[in-house]
């Protein structure tokens, strides 16, 4: 969306851009390293936590380890006497799974729609984009709330809702990138040789819009995590007695003064995860923009 106009200085020694070099270029930015580190730490907790928790503390997420707000163990117990550390370690798995699924759904559907609209043009493009306008006129969270009110807080519904509300946003980006690519003569050349449309989309266009799509993946993952955690926090996502970070924050915030860890640990984890993925997305965006600059030089 920000087509950054770059200085028209000629850089004769600019190294040629290579495919797959996007990640290598992105890695040269400090935010990529910090972001990856943050994301990895939280992902490790989320993946290993459910198994690690009981081993470390000897408790499960739902057994009553002791009296409410007891201060033994590492981080003590919550208002119901459940071990905070165990619940924290187990609380990221579902969130992460749902967020990844929603992101994949959103990117696949959105990229397909955007590419078809951007390359097909004409009436199809108009129709898809007007439909997009309608979907875009609901805030994502509100559309999710409407559906949850009707159907109820089901896991599959969360994934479907967040994923499908991402799709029009990704479609916009994919369409814009596709329109830029479709204007190139190599697309004309492929048409001239009667290359089937599906192959033009997949072999000529898709490889040339991976840059913006990578950025979208990072961005949509950040938002997926945010929305799913928010819904759980509102009590409308992942339901008790599951251990979940969003839910934990809601359950424990009343007792913030007595037992701050029940709130602080999940808040820090969600913050680290979203900041991490967003930093990676930003590094990818900078790398993609830089690559565009080289292509123009």
């Amino acid at each position: 969306m920000t087509a950054v106009e770059l200085p028209r200085t000629a850089t004769p020694d600019a190294p040629p851009a290579r495919p797959g070099g996007l990640f290598r270029t992105a890695w040269t930015f400090p935010q990529a390293k910090i972001g990856t580190a943050l994301t990895l730490v939280v992902v490790l907790i989320a993946v290993l936590g459910p198994w690690l928790g009981p081993v470390l503390t000897g408790h499960t997420t739902t057994d009553f380890a002791g009296k409410p707000f007891k201060h033994d163990g590492v981080f003590g117990t919550d208002g119901l006497g459940r071990d905070v550390l165990t619940r924290f370690l187990a609380g990221g798995t579902t969130l992460l799974l749902y967020a990844v699924l929603a992101t994949v759904l959103g990117i696949v559907v959105g990229a397909l729609l955007g590419m078809v609209a951007g390359y097909g043009g004409g009436r199809l493009d108009g129709l898809l984009m007007r439909g997009n306008d309608v979907l875009l006129s609901f805030p994502q969270l509100v559309i999710a709330l409407l559906a949850i009110a009707v159907i109820g807080p089901e896991g599959w519904l969360l994934v479907l809702l967040i994923g499908l509300t991402h799709a029009p946003r990704t479609a916009r980006v994919a369409r814009q990138a596709t329109v830029a690519v479709a204007g190139h003569d190599y697309i004309r050349a492929a048409e001239m040789y009667a290359v089937p449309r599906s192959q033009i989309l997949l072999r000529e266009i898709l490889p040339n819009i991976t840059g913006p799509l990578m950025v979208e993946i990072g961005l949509r993952l950040t938002y997926s995590i945010g929305y799913i955690a928010s819904l759980s926090f509102l009590g409308l996502g992942i339901q008790p007695p599951s251990a979940d970070w969003g839910l934990m924050i809601n359950e424990n915030r009343i007792a913030l003064v007595v037992q701050p860890w029940g709130v602080l640990l999940p808040v820090l984890a969600i913050a680290a995860l979203t900041v991490g993925t967003n930093l990676v997305a930003d590094a990818l965006a900078s790398a993609a923009a830089g690559r565009k600059r080289e292509a123009r030089a």
Partner: protein, 318 residues
């Protein structure tokens, strides 16, 4: 130009209509009979039939839609199944509180974001810019409730105890009588929105400051202040209006989480309550309201964009 604006207006009306259709259809998917849900399992078939008639559930779908749509225009939004009162009254009590929150946050965040973005762009690649960009990147990633909880920890409970963490004013009373309770909700929304406006303003200004016409203005010997005010800033109006509008419209959605977090007596909290209680009439009304705000603000942004572009403005004759 007028034609362009009219066409844009028509699109908005159309979108709003389709949105109303979607919101209405959503309720049809509701499993079970709303009349039974209201009256409970012990209700006699006669009473249910009577209520169905009263709620017009015995009419065909299209007629119910038209009635509902008509109700929207006449201010009749139906009956809440949980309070048994009219939805209009429920929303009426709370809408002013939400508007106060929105307007105060918008009034603070917009100039702050535009200022920081411009400053960042002028000091491009220096320490100021890097600090502003870095901080806005981090904050932009955080979900609203994480920011809100962090503020509660910092300013209301664990670290400092300056501002109240919950709102005590009940729905229907003026929230601004106790300004302290507004501080944390407003601050949260400002922190949520400002980074986006800042980043967009910075990107737009960078683009404009690198343009051929700004270079040309400098090569004409024009003063740097004039370059900025006359040559650069006007070009940022169009694109930035879009983003600001998007953010303000987005506030309308973000307000939901923030109101819930601070127990703020606005429509957002009412929405969460209603979703929890499956009170569909209320959910319908508030969803439509938020979508309406969203559409209107985006329309305004597009109009500003059209007015700011001399190419579109001079096409008046066509």
């Amino acid at each position: 130009m007028t034609g362009l604006i009219l066409r844009r207006l028509l699109v908005s009306v159309l979108v709003l209509w389709v949105v109303s259709l979607l919101v209405f259809v959503a309720t049809l998917l509701l499993p079970g009979d709303p009349a039974r849900a209201i009256l409970g399992q012990q209700a006699t078939p006669e009473r249910i039939a009577a209520l169905q008639h009263q709620l017009h559930l015995d009419l065909p779908v299209w007629q119910r839609y038209l009635d509902w749509l008509g109700g929207l225009f006449t201010g009749d939004l139906g009956t809440s199944t949980s309070t048994q009162g009219p939805v209009t009254a429920l929303i009426g009590d709370r809408i002013s509180a939400s508007l106060v929150l929105l307007v105060v946050a918008a009034v603070l965040a917009t100039p702050l974001g535009l200022g920081l973005g411009t400053w960042s762009s002028i000091r491009r690649d220096r320490a100021t810019d890097q600090a502003i960009s870095g901080v806005s990147l981090v904050i932009a990633a955080l979900p609203e409730f994480v920011i809100g909880v962090a503020l509660v920890v910092l300013l209301s409970t664990t670290v400092f105890k300056i501002f109240p963490s919950v709102t005590i004013t009940p729905p229907g009373e003026a929230v601004w009588r106790q300004p302290a309770q507004l501080v944390l909700p407003v601050l949260t929304l400002v922190l949520v929105v400002t980074p986006y406006i800042t980043r967009m303003m910075r990107a737009t200004m960078n683009e404009v400051l690198d343009s051929g016409y700004v270079e040309m203005a400098r090569l004409k010997g024009v003063r740097e202040r004039t370059v900025l005010v006359r040559h650069a800033l006007p070009h940022a109006i169009g694109p930035v209006a879009q983003v600001v509008a998007l953010q303000l419209a987005w506030l309308a959605g973000g307000v939901v989480v923030v109101e819930f977090l601070f127990r703020y007596p606005g429509i957002g909290q009412a929405l969460i309550d209603a979703v929890g209680k499956r009170d569909v009439a209320v959910v319908q009304a508030i969803t439509l309201l938020i979508a309406g705000v969203y559409i209107v603000v985006n329309l305004l942004a597009d109009v500003v964009g059209i007015l700011a572009d001399p190419k579109l403005r001079t096409e008046a004759g066509r």
